[in-house]
């Protein structure tokens, strides 16, 4: 598959090697977080239950979009949180 075209659909990451930093990059529960998945541009709603969601930040250079389920949209975050809105073209 070819590389996605839109630059807004390429997540930016800051490499870090500490275990805590790596853990913070991954999706984790953080009650009351100021950067919840519900307000992140990489989040799309769950296909069935609007209280949950799907994270689409994991995008392979080859074009694959490997989603992760978000149980609690309001209290989950990760180090790649970003604001904005993607076009339908950038989703699955």
């Amino acid at each position: 598959m070819s590389t996605p075209q839109t630059s807004s659909a390429t997540p930016s990451t800051t490499p870090s090697t500490t275990a805590a930093a790596v853990a913070a990059m991954h999706m984790h529960l953080d009650p009351g977080t100021a950067r919840p998945c519900s307000a992140c541009k990489w989040q799309v709603p769950d296909p069935t239950d609007p209280a949950s969601g799907q994270c689409t930040v994991n995008r392979h250079p080859g074009g694959g979009i490997w989603k992760r389920w978000i149980r609690d949209l309001g209290n989950t975050t990760c180090g790649r949180h970003d604001v904005g809105k993607l076009s339908f073209r950038d989703h699955v």
Partner: protein
């Protein structure tokens, strides 16, 4: 211009375009030059069409919005009817809606009727799934006013089908279903549905006759109940029947009045708003039609198309939501075509006017927005919904069913170029050449349809299912010929009786790729949901033999398929109690005769379920067996470790698994195991389940856009796939780009799967230069005859160049007429997300080698 040639049968075949003018068209914009609307009017209608394509869960066009009127009016009626029998409440809900809803008539249109209060809107269904409507309230296209919409959803939550069904399930099972990763979500949680409406009854009888019939049944029932001596067993049975018949009367009277409201509207527009005398006369003609139709039988084709349209709106959007456009359209309209083209007709038309009328019908469908749940706004990217009409095949006496109405529909389809409705052509060796040529030209123009079904396989299937009829009244040999695709793939009866009325009978999906993934990991989904998704069947790293893995998969599949079918039948049980369809019931001769609602009566079983992503699982099993258990090149631990890191650092290993034998190359090393997989597990285990109608449930291998969604929720797999990549794009289609031995090798692989199947979708992409050359039809025809003789159920085609698709990715605004076959439906390419577009580009473009042409015995 291309310089492709093949040496065949002593000749050098060149594939220059059959139409020499095409040599002047740049190959990366061919599709933009193919439309040819038959009149200025249909050209105008297309250019201003209010498309409602959904993609990535959202609507592509700006200004598309959910309406509130349907929600408001059914809620009003529901509140006012407390204490009445449920079926009467359903009829009163429909009646209140039809009496009070806003009607729409647009300029230039001839077929009138819309399902929401504005042509940019679509209705919602709070009585079905509360989750689906709650999702809408969070979007930019939520119904307004928002506060009222929220109140309505809150009111319906306890009354909804979803709430009625959920209480019968363990929350753990429900949560697994809601993931849409091992199985499609239960329909009670999405509201998704399908139906085959008895159009024939409306066109032939008219609703006034149905009202009279129901009223006479009520009188007979009352007479029976009032007779001496009273017998409770017999007498009490009449109560529900009387309720059903009364509901039918209420519903049909409301429909007649609603249609006549359209007549009034057209007359008012003609008299008070329209200044063009020609259009005034036309509006008065439409008014006359709506005054008579569907109250009375149709006298000509204009009547028939209008009656059919009203019925479609009622059965698919107003009484209840249903996807689809299931009808044997050519056979249904043929008597009215003949009536209109006959000398001295009461509603005279020419064949070209018929073509124009069908173009207008196709554009009405293209404007028909669906208030589907989020999942279904994701899984048919680039389209409004699934709309599939069926043509061709054979009549009850075995004769060719193709006629001039078939050709008119195909001609209109080719000319107007829309993604919807899709068409299915039932291919028989008896199909006349003239019609086959139209079928080919639609395919060659890259529409992606008609998709082709094997006429005899479908007919025989109807007879097999009839044997399980609980009422002993399944399809007769004559009726078995009158079948259509209920949605994309599965045959079901059409006609006045015995048709499928709810998706609970057959439909929904299961996902073998994800099941294979969790079978490696004790039933646990580590890659998407981070939760237990099925029974604990062990860790693959502990398996000593391939058979242990095979059996672990079997157990995951058994659990999920039983859950999925149970969801459908529990839903059916609640649809019978709370979601009656008095209008549809009034049309079905069985419901009318017996006084039974359409959800409840089952005379012809038609149980099926769609395995989607089977080939990723099959190819993975082949690779594991070869590399882990037979050749022992890798251990299972090495494989599982590589999968957990998405093959990173294991590229050589990934290439070994990627290059293991693959389905679709007529290679016994892959095919033997995969055939066994299809027949023993996918079909064999599924068929052990018995549904509400008393028949087995059989697999209909499918994909729509779910191969993308499920792919994105499935981690790396042992076929060499990376995590999040799309899965295989059709029920029995080779994985994208892996069918490397030519189109006839694909046919030979697919033909090996015969047992325990209902249908299997085969996607093939054919070469543009070959199909558009003077040899194209002969090659395609020979291919189709071979396909038929190999007893293959289905095939559908893309005929589109990579060059054109990539040009469309760069400049989408210049490629609005580029249509592609996704899987089971077609879509506008530029309305599909990039992820999905790339899967179509990746499909193997099949050339025909000399060996292929020899196998097909092409006579050139």
């Amino acid at each position: 211009m291309n310089d492709m040639t093949v040496q065949y049968s002593g000749k050098v075949l060149a594939f220059t375009p059959e139409d020499p003018r095409e040599a002047q068209i740049p190959s990366d914009e061919l599709h933009e030059h193919l439309q040819d609307p038959s009149t200025a009017r249909t050209s105008r209608l297309k250019s201003r069409c209010r498309w409602k394509h959904a993609s990535g869960g959202e609507f592509v066009e700006k200004g598309v919005q959910a309406g509130i009127e349907r929600m408001r009016l059914i809620t009003e009626a529901h509140k006012a009817s407390v204490g009445k029998p449920e079926v009467i409440r359903r009829a009163l809900m429909l009646s209140n809606f039809l009496t009070n809803t806003t009607l729409v008539v647009q300029e230039d249109e001839f077929i009138v009727g819309y399902h929401a209060e504005d042509p940019n809107m679509f209705p919602l269904y709070p009585e079905l799934s509360y989750m689906a409507v709650l999702d809408y309230l969070k979007t930019d296209y939520a119904p307004q006013p928002a506060a009222e919409a929220a109140d309505i959803v809150a009111y319906w939550k306890p009354h909804s089908l979803q709430a009625k069904c959920e209480r019968y399930f363990d929350p753990v099972d429900l949560r697994r279903g809601y993931q849409v990763s091992t199985m499609e979500g239960p329909a009670f949680a999405s509201g998704y549905n399908s139906i085959v409406p008895p159009y024939e009854t409306v066109l032939e009888d008219g609703l006034l006759a149905r009202i009279k019939l129901a009223e006479s049944h009520i009188q007979e029932a009352r007479a029976e109940m009032g007779a001496f001596p009273w017998n409770a067993d017999a007498g009490l049975k009449w109560l529900d029947k009387v309720d059903n018949w009364e509901a039918m009367v209420i519903a049909c009277k409301a429909v007649v009045a609603w249609a006549r409201r359209h007549a009034r509207l057209c007359k008012i527009v003609a008299e008070r708003f329209e200044s063009d005398p020609k259009r005034q006369a036309e509006l008065l003609e439409i008014a006359d039609i709506c005054q008579r139709i569907p109250a009375e039988p149709c006298i000509g084709l204009k009547d028939a198309v209008q009656a059919k349209w009203f019925t479609f709106l009622l059965a698919h959007a107003l009484e209840r939501y249903a996807s689809g456009y299931a009808q044997k359209e050519d056979s249904l309209l043929w008597p009215y075509y003949q009536a209109s083209l006959a000398e001295g007709s009461q509603q005279p038309m020419t064949h070209q006017q018929v073509v124009e009328l069908i173009e207008m019908e196709r554009l009405k469908i293209s404007e028909h927005g669906a208030g589907k749940s989020r999942a279904y706004r994701e899984i048919f990217p680039g389209s409004n919904d699934l709309f599939i009409a069926t043509l061709g095949g054979t009549n009850g006496d075995g004769s060719d069913a193709c006629n001039d109405m078939t050709d008119a529909i195909l001609e209109a389809t080719k000319r107007i170029r829309t993604a919807e409705p899709s068409l299915v052509f039932r291919y028989s060796k008896k199909s006349r050449a003239k019609t086959l040529r139209w079928v080919f030209e639609c395919i060659r123009d890259g529409l992606g349809y008609p998709s082709i079904k094997h006429d005899e396989i479908g007919t025989q299937q109807m007879l097999e299912y009839a044997k399980y009829s609980k009422t002993g009244n399944g399809a007769t040999p004559e009726e078995a010929h009158y079948w259509v695709n209920v949605l994309c793939m599965s045959p079901g009866l059409a006609g006045r009786r015995k048709t499928q009325k709810t998706r609970s009978e057959g439909g929904s999906s299961i996902f073998p790729a994800k099941l294979l993934e969790i079978s490696l990991n004790n039933g646990y989904d580590w890659s998407y949901a981070d939760m237990q998704m099925g029974p604990e069947t062990g860790y693959a790293t502990d398996f000593k033999t391939f058979d242990e893995l095979w059996e672990a998969f079997r157990k995951q599949y058994q659990y999920t398929i039983a859950l999925a079918i149970r969801c459908k039948d529990v839903s059916r049980s609640q649809e019978i109690k709370y979601l009656q369809m008095p209008f549809v019931s009034a049309l079905d001769d069985g419901c009318m005769e017996l006084g039974i609602d359409a959800n409840e009566l089952s005379e012809q079983p038609n149980g099926w379920h769609n395995p989607i992503t089977t080939i990723v699982a099959g190819n993975s099993l082949v690779a594991i067996k070869k590399l882990v258990f037979d050749e022992k090149k890798y251990t299972m631990t090495q494989l599982v470790d590589a999968l957990k890191v998405n093959w990173e650092g294991h590229e050589e290993m990934r290439q070994d698994f990627k290059n293991a034998p693959k389905w679709g190359n007529d290679d016994p090393e892959a095919d033997d195991l995969i055939v066994r997989f299809y027949e023993e597990i996918i079909g064999g285990e599924m068929s052990k389940n018995t549904n509400y109608s008393g028949g087995p449930v059989l697999p209909v291998g499918q994909a729509v856009g779910l191969y993308m969604e499920v792919g994105s929720r499935t981690g790396p797999t042992p076929d060499g796939r990376l995590g999040g990549e799309a899965a295989d794009d059709g029920g029995i289609s080779p994985y994208m780009g892996t069918d490397k031995k030519g189109p006839t090798a694909v046919l030979r692989s697919v033909a090996k799967v015969q047992k325990n199947q209902k249908a299997n979708l085969l996607n093939q992409r054919l070469s543009v230069p070959i199909m558009r050359s003077k040899h194209g039809f002969d090659i395609w025809h020979a291919y189709m005859d071979t396909w038929h003789d190999l007893n293959i159920d289905h095939v559908q085609f893309n005929v589109v160049s990579t060059e054109e698709m990539k040009a469309a990715q760069r400049e989408p605004e210049k490629h609005h007429d580029l249509i592609v076959r996704v899987s089971g439906y077609s879509a506008r390419f530029v309305d599909i997300p990039t992820y999905g577009q790339n899967t179509i580009i990746a499909r193997q473009e099949q050339d025909f080698s000399a060996a292929d042409l020899e196998f097909l015995n092409v006579d050139l």
